[in-house]
């Protein structure tokens, strides 16, 4: 056997597999006015929406694909760049990720939806992140909030009640840890989880006092390192030191953290409302309630991160523009919105849809109605790198490889690098 040639071939093959990546096969079928192509990240809920849409529009067929966020972003960018993208596609609000409204609207890939009747009805806190350059491009149907989600049974078993101030929170953590059931499950092995608790603290410490923080950041008049972000970061670390989280959060995955909270090994979890459905899946008998995470001792000034989830945009070069707009109108209608939000455990983006909110999310709804929410921070950042620096930086802080000052300074550097 001659090994020389295979070694060269192997090396070349290696290069090839690394370099060429993937080019997703599009399912763009042209000409047929009854066929709509769709790519979605809403696995588990889009199926029902498509079924309902097809039932409401006899003869119409929706060809759709679904995928996880990473995979989807890669696929949709390749398809848009090569002119083979579907008619309707999932688009994230604001900026800061490769599939976000700003990123896709800027090179002209999305159709202007400003004239759609729902565009003007979106709440003020949401409207901004659906727009680029003053025009609406993203049909956002659901809202999400982040807070402390308590396992009510575990809470009463421990004889504790949900804290309402920062001081109470620390005492609560100590008491919970002393009983052998730490307050909150932390799944920081999955790096996106690291930001959740920080966002919950930042909403109050940064935005309660300074609603224009993002405007100041954009104008170069503020920095992460010299703002209340430092306070929030310090509080996050203080929570860890006080024993608010179970041991070894960095070795615990998101999935494992759900197990802890669902089965009462911790009294709760700091997460977005989307986790409630997952917790119920693991413990159908459990009762889970979302409350604002106390970041100061003044509950009247609490804010929560409350933001638009991924919505849908229309391809500027859609093969079937008419049907695409019909689909968008459907998901923004009370029926479409209800199907989506019921499945996802989120809240409808438009008011007065006649949708009954899950009792576990009553507090989120109240904060949204009171206008005491701020978009997830990354949705207003100029590039994706700021968030990635924060995520790996937080893991490094918790494993003693970095410090809050270093991480905030690195975030500032990436923020200033711009788009």
């Amino acid at each position: 056997m001659n090994i020389r040639i295979p070694s060269a071939v192997l090396a070349a093959l290696t290069a090839a597999t690394v370099l060429t990546g993937c080019s997703g096969g599009p399912d763009a079928e042209s000409g047929d006015s009854k066929v709509l192509t769709l790519a979605s990240v809403d696995q588990g809920s889009i199926e029902d929406v498509v079924k309902a849409f097809e039932a409401a529009n006899p003869g119409v067929k929706v060809n759709f694909t679904t995928g996880g966020a990473d995979q989807y972003q890669q696929q949709i960018r390749t398809q848009l760049a090569s002119g083979t993208a579907p008619d309707v596609m999932s688009v994230w609000p604001g900026n800061g990720n490769p599939g976000a409204t700003y990123v896709l609207a800027k090179p002209g890939y999305l159709l202007d939806l400003s004239s759609q009747p729902w565009a003007s009805k979106l709440p003020a806190g949401v409207k901004g992140v659906t727009q680029y350059d003053g025009k609406t491009y993203n049909a956002v149907f659901g809202l999400n909030g982040i807070g402390a989600i308590y396992n009510q049974e575990a809470l009463s078993k421990a004889g504790l009640t949900a804290p309402t101030t920062w001081t109470e929170l620390l005492a609560f953590c100590k008491a919970a840890a002393a009983k052998g059931t730490p307050a909150f499950a932390l799944g920081n092995q999955d790096n996106w989880v690291t930001q959740i608790a920080l966002y919950a603290l930042v909403a109050t410490t940064v935005y309660s006092a300074d609603k224009d923080f993002d405007t100041k950041m954009q104008a170069g008049q503020a920095t992460f390192a010299n703002s209340e972000w430092r306070t929030a970061m310090a509080k996050y670390i203080e929570m860890e030191k006080t024993g608010c989280f179970q041991a070894n959060g960095l070795g615990t995955s998101y999935e494992a953290s759900q197990d802890l909270a669902a089965t009462g090994k911790t009294l709760g979890i700091i997460q977005g409302n989307w986790v409630v459905a997952l917790l119920k899946g693991k413990n159908p008998a459990g009762t889970f309630v979302l409350k604002a995470l106390p970041a100061t001792d003044d509950p009247a000034k609490f804010f929560i991160p409350g933001a638009a989830g991924a919505g849908y945009g229309v391809n500027a070069k859609a093969k079937n523009k008419e049907l695409a707009l019909k689909f968008i109108s459907y998901i923004m209608s009370p029926e479409g919105m209800s199907v989506f939000n019921k499945k996802q455990g989120s809240l409808p983006a438009l008011p007065n849809t006649g949708y009954t909110i899950d009792p576990s999310l009553a507090e989120v709804a109240k904060f949204i109605n009171d206008g005491r929410t701020v978009p997830f921070m990354d949705q207003l950042w100029p590039n994706a790198k700021v968030q990635q620096t924060m995520l790996s930086g937080l893991q490094e802080i918790f494993s003693g490889q970095s410090t809050p000052d270093k991480v905030l300074a690195a975030m500032d550097t990436n923020y200033k690098a711009g788009a």
Binding site: Q189, L250, G251, S399, Q401
Partner: protein
């Protein structure tokens, strides 16, 4: 690495002398027999790769049709990017560690199941079994087993070794070695099979002769087994070093490159830079560097081992 006097002058037609088993005819097929395969290879692999490489010299974001040529800036940026330097170091460390540990382990297993113990056939199947499972599946399994409350820590606790319990994947000092351990667990059996094939081709008479000459176990291994296993070593080392350098699935599934960047390899960084940050130009430049490392390591190693094979035979 390349020792000129020992290397045959490259002759595109004549087969490599070391590769020809005695007694087989030396007729070589005409080169154009390979033409259809080479044309296919060129169009499916070489041309797209070359077209990909040109993006390494641009600031393309993977989306915007308007991009600029920026010369070698992606490559110079790399030298001042601590994440990239760290990833290159991790990649080399993992590749070397896997190559040594996996093959050492595989060789011991092969020697073990090559004996006349009764259960050897069953053992061979068991030891090889992990290698047939998709790496991503075993990685997710181990991610659960190695969790703070996972089976590994529970087992250590149950047998009274509480002080050995570790945050296997969450401790930056330990995570890289946990990944190496998972890979060795999965592919040790694979190396074993290749060594075993080599061992079984060693004629028994040679061992008998060595034994009659008074050679003990160790001496017989060193003077008979080792040189005759040289081709198996070549294949095993080559496969494990290339596999180690390219490593992606297991790292991504076990730690995602974390905590922080503590286990990022070049491949995970390529993925993150391209698909999370949209820095395609930079990430393709990283891919070019990876390709060069693989090419240098595999050809260098091949020549080195081929020389040893000849020296041994």
């Amino acid at each position: 690495m390349i020792d000129a006097p020992n290397v045959q002058a490259p002759d595109p037609v004549a087969p490599d002398p070391i590769a020809v088993t005695p007694g087989r005819s030396r007729v070589s097929p005409p080169w154009w027999f390979a033409l259809p395969a080479m044309v296919l290879f060129a169009f499916v692999v070489l041309v797209p790769s070359a077209r990909g490489v040109h993006y390494a010299f641009t600031d393309w974001d993977g989306l915007d049709p308007n991009y600029a040529f920026i010369g070698l800036r992606n490559f110079t940026d790399m030298t001042s990017d601590p994440d990239a330097m760290q990833a290159i170091w991790h990649t080399l460390l993992i590749a070397v560690a896997i190559t040594i540990i996996q093959n050492g382990f595989g060789l011991l297993l092969a020697l073990g199941v090559n004996t006349i113990i009764k259960s050897r056939n069953v053992l061979r199947v068991f030891l090889f079994a992990p290698a047939v499972v998709t790496p991503i599946v075993t990685a997710y399994l181990w991610r659960n087993l190695l969790g703070p409350e996972g089976a590994v820590n529970s087992l250590l606790g149950a047998v009274g070794l509480d002080s050995w319990r570790q945050n296997w994947l969450g401790d930056p000092e330990l995570a890289l070695w946990s990944i190496v351990a998972v890979i060795v667990w999965q592919f040790g059996g694979y190396s074993m099979v290749i060594f075993l094939a080599g061992l079984q081709s060693v004629p028994k008479e040679i061992y008998e002769a060595a034994a009659i000459d008074g050679g003990g176990r160790v001496r017989r291994f060193w003077s008979v087994t080792r040189p005759l296993l040289a081709p198996a070593f070549t294949i095993n080392l080559m496969l494990s070093i290339i596999g180690g350098i390219k490593l992606f699935d297991q790292v991504y599934a076990l730690t995602g490159g974390g905590p922080g960047h503590a286990t990022d390899t070049i491949s995970t960084l390529i993925y993150k830079d391209a698909f999370t940050l949209g820095e395609f130009g930079y990430s393709i430049a990283l891919a070019v560097v990876l390709t060069i490392i693989v090419a240098v390591a595999s050809t260098g190693q091949y020549f080195f081992l081929a020389r040893n094979e000849r020296a041994a035979s």
